[in-house]
Amino acid sequence: MDRTTFLARIEEYHMGGWRLALINATSAMSTEEQPGGSFDVVWAFVKDNAFEYLREEIVPGDEVPSISASFPAAFLYENEIRELFGINVTGLNVDLGGQLYKTAKKIPFSPSAIRARLEANAAAGIASASPTPPAGPHGAAHAASSPAPTSAPTAGKTA
């Protein structure tokens, strides 16, 4: 990800008086382009009735800058994606040090953890999602082929 452009966009939202709505991550399982899997991370903001978000594709190990300097409340989301997805967020204003959820299995939402669970299910004959992502415009392939991450923020729908 382009750190400078990203933080500049975040600052624009901050100056524009937007409220942080959520930071959301989605794990995509391994594909040919990204053998270790990848994360689709969304930073969403709300102002009046408008809802917009920035989207980045993150590869495990990538450094993701914290936005807590502009949006102090981001610490909760950032601690969460760090703990559940294992995304390497740096520069948090409040670092809970992995004590937020303290799940029995560490980093349960990471691509490898999901893959391991699904494979175990398949081996045990338990019905569950397939450990290989479906091809097509959606799913894991979608994240890999999505437009350049720092493109203009997509206006999301409000519901």
Binding site: K102, T103, A104, K105, P108, R117
Partner: protein, 142 residues
């Protein structure tokens, strides 16, 4: 018949429930159900309690808490598992962070079914809990 059947004091702990059973436990105290008629008091303090009402299932994190609370209750004491989650893990039994019902951690005397358990069945569970309490007292005395 001893005083136990007339004065069962309750400790309520929410394991990892969805709140549904918890609010129904609280609803038992309020005017429509009014369990204080039977001398039931929601103590909120393990050292005063006779009946341990647990809602929700067990996850890694609350195992210690549940054991600790149970340990702090003076004998005789009984455990009532309220709702499907407390009985077996319920709908969340398949979730990755859930280990199952309360009986994985502490001995359960009464199981109250339901998702969410209705106040009537919770009261019924407490009444059955009283009977169990009475038995344990007799055992202690003999």
């Amino acid at each position: 018949m001893s005083m136990f059947s007339r004065s069962p004091w309750i400790l309520h702990y929410d394991g990892s429930s969805c709140n549904g059973c918890d609010i129904e436990v609280l609803a038992c105290l309020t005017p429509l159900y009014d369990v204080e008629r039977f001398g039931v008091v929601n103590t909120g303090n393990p050292k005063h309690a006779d009946i341990f009402l647990v809602t929700g299932s067990v996850n890694e994190r609350n195992i210690d808490i549940i054991q600790n609370l149970y340990g702090q209750m003076p004998d005789p004491k009984v455990v009532v598992a309220v709702g499907a989650c407390a009985c077996s893990g319920g709908i969340f039994a398949r979730a990755y962070n859930i280990q199952g019902g309360i009986d994985k951690v502490i001995p359960v005397d009464v199981y109250v079914p339901g998702c969410a358990a209705r106040p009537e069945s919770i009261i019924d569970g407490v009444v059955q809990g009283i009977a169990a309490l009475e038995e344990k007292r007799k055992k202690r005395a003999s």
